[in-house]
């Protein structure tokens, strides 16, 4: 395994872990079926891109986008995170206040489709379907991004973000606030009847998830140097849901495990499939298509046979209480 491959794997794992921890807070802990999660990652990615890129007139103006502020690290990452949180405010206010949870899920799915469509078709805004390329990563002007040391540097920048998000997620999940979120997930009306404001709880965790989702997008775009609508189609959210369901809803360790097993593990496992089987050369899109079939089967299989996931939500036994 060469260092490029290892770094790619680690950064992808970091991005997926961060995204799954955020989705776990929203879906696993709080019961918000956020089918538009990938949009928040994309907003983070685009924001980080336009904050770190030069104006679109540079490089011969072959791509058009708003902004282009050439701001140094860590501003693009912070900006990406903030943009995710800011987007969560209007979306949450429209979707989470009045709608029943199943309609919330449908609305968020539709939002994901609309957002992708709009960005694809409004080219002057963020360069349409082609997306934005040549996004400079952190310190790319000081360290050559094509060297192993830059790859190592990027891993070194990603790891503290993973740890920070882990700290935030665990503090929330293990606190009385996390308990209120879980109570709301279990029985919203009963939670209201004991003084919980479900709209406030949902909005809070939706914004927190938006911030973390935005951060994951910012980290990703700095590494792969490109963001385009084709990488944030709505099924990408389904992969993250599969990860949280497989790993264990409501359990942060489960979310991490799910991130490693599903988005990272699947991608890696399919690399091991030989390009030809004997004389037979499979059609080129067979493996990606089979991945989707496998993701679908994985979700159904887990919901059917082990809905609590590999690492179920922890039962809290308090000191001095019976086991």
């Amino acid at each position: 395994m060469n260092s490029y491959y290892a770094a790619t794997l680690l950064v992808y794992a970091g991005v997926d872990i961060i995204a799954c921890l955020a989705l776990n807070l929203q879906f696993g802990v709080s019961g918000i079926v956020n089918f538009s999660f990938i949009v928040f990652q994309a907003v983070g990615a685009y924001t980080a891109a336009v904050l770190s890129m030069p104006p679109d007139t540079a490089n011969g103006g072959y791509q058009t986008y708003v902004g282009g502020f050439q701001l140094p690290f860590p501003i693009p990452w912070i900006g990406g995170a903030l943009a995710g949180g800011l987007l969560a405010i209007p979306v949450g206010l429209v979707v989470l206040r009045k709608l029943r949870s199943d309609y919330q899920a449908i609305s968020l799915l539709v939002l994901s489709v609309i957002a992708n469509s709009v960005i694809t078709n409004v080219r002057p805004f963020l360069n349409g379907a082609a997306g934005i390329a040549q996004v400079p990563g952190p310190f790319a002007d000081q360290v050559n991004p094509l060297t192993p040391s830059y790859q190592l540097l990027y891993v070194g920048l990603t790891v503290p973000c993973v740890l920070l998000v882990w700290l935030v997620a665990s503090r929330i999940v293990n606190s009385p606030f996390g308990r209120s979120l879980r109570a709301m997930r279990e029985h919203e009306l009963a939670a209201t009847a004991i003084g919980k404001n479900p709209v406030q709880l949902k909005m809070t965790i939706f914004i927190v998830g938006g911030v973390i989702g935005g951060l994951s997008g910012a980290i990703l775009v700095g590494f792969i140097a490109v963001v385009a609508p084709s990488i944030w189609l709505y099924p990408e959210t389904i992969i993250l849901f599969a990860a949280v369901i497989v790993g264990g809803r409501g359990n942060n360790v489960g979310a991490i495990l799910g991130a490693l097993l599903v988005p990272v593990g699947f991608e890696e496992a399919t690399r091991l499939i030989p390009p030809t089987i004997g004389e037979w050369v499979p059609p080129p899109n067979l493996i990606p298509a089979m991945q989707w079939v496998a993701i679908g089967l994985l979700i159904i299989g887990f919901l059917w046979f082990r809905p609590q996931g590999v690492r179920p939500e922890t039962r809290r036994v308090f000191e001095g209480g019976p086991e």
Binding site: R179, G195, P198
Partner: protein, 261 residues
């Protein structure tokens, strides 16, 4: 924890005036007025579809009233959402089990407790040291309730695994964690094993002895007779009588409408 009687004994704790709740023309609650006296158990009885549970939900704010006013100890709470009423310690239970199934029994109690510094995003992010003092105090209080209701051994079990009767008890204990001024019970005995019914009856008497005010919807008339100081009878969305159970039994209209039914 002991529920406290905060109103003067002669002044009503809660005054509901001319409450209406209509569902697309159907008058589920049709001009109900009612007073609940402090430190007493008031029963609300009536045939199925009389509007009792709807009225209770309107008082608690889980259903908005079409019109009418609700005053809790001098404060008009008619326009407040349910969670605000709960924070003013007007607390309801539900006709159907409403435990937080994937929380343990102890957590079901703790989650209801107000004034925990860790029960906000800021508090959570500050870390355990910031809120552990409140948590320890509330655990002690919740364990006191569990002991009083004979459920200490179950504190670490998921509430969803409890029997119907135990779920009722959890709900009552959960409500008590809010130190209610007025507790609204919606058929606390329904679907409960007779042995637990006796237990619940005992606990309710005990709570009344401690000064707690209760308004209770119940179908089991012997229980209502034993527990309730005043009984209000509803039929077709209206109040058709009130008084002690024995006085109600002497009113022919009420007997015809409900008591022999």
């Amino acid at each position: 924890m002991s529920p406290t009687m905060t109103a003067a004994p002669d002044k009503p704790m809660l005054v509901a005036t001319d409450i209406h709740r209509h569902f697309e023309g159907m008058r589920a609650v049709d001009g109900v007025s009612l007073e609940v006296l402090p430190g007493k158990i008031t029963g609300l009885i009536g045939p199925n579809g009389a509007g009792k549970s709807t009225f209770l939900a309107v008082l608690a704010g889980t259903l908005p009233a079409t019109s009418g006013t609700i005053v809790l100890e001098g404060e008009d709470i008619s326009r407040l959402p349910a969670y605000q009423r709960a924070r003013r310690r007007l607390v309801r239970t539900f006709q159907l089990p409403s435990e937080f199934a994937q929380l343990t029994v102890l957590e079901n109690l703790l989650v209801a407790a107000p004034n925990n510094r860790g029960d906000s995003l800021f508090g959570a992010l500050m870390g355990k040291r910031y809120w552990v003092g409140d948590e320890d105090r509330l655990i002690e209080e919740a364990r006191g309730l569990l002991k009083r209701f004979g459920m200490s051994a179950k504190e670490s079990d998921y509430a969803g695994t409890m029997s119907g009767g135990q779920k009722r008890l959890i709900e009552i204990m959960r409500a008590l964690m809010l130190h209610p001024r007025l507790l609204l019970l919606d058929e606390p005995m329904s679907g409960v094993h007779p042995k637990i019914v006796e237990e619940i009856q005992y606990y309710l008497q005990d709570l009344r002895a401690g000064g707690l005010t209760i308004l209770m919807v119940e179908h089991e008339l012997h229980m209502v007779e034993r527990l309730c100081d005043t009984v209000v009878v509803m039929a077709q969305g209206k109040v058709i009588g009130s008084g002690t159970m024995s006085s109600l039994r002497r009113q022919q209209e009420i007997v015809d409408a409900y008591l022999i039914g």
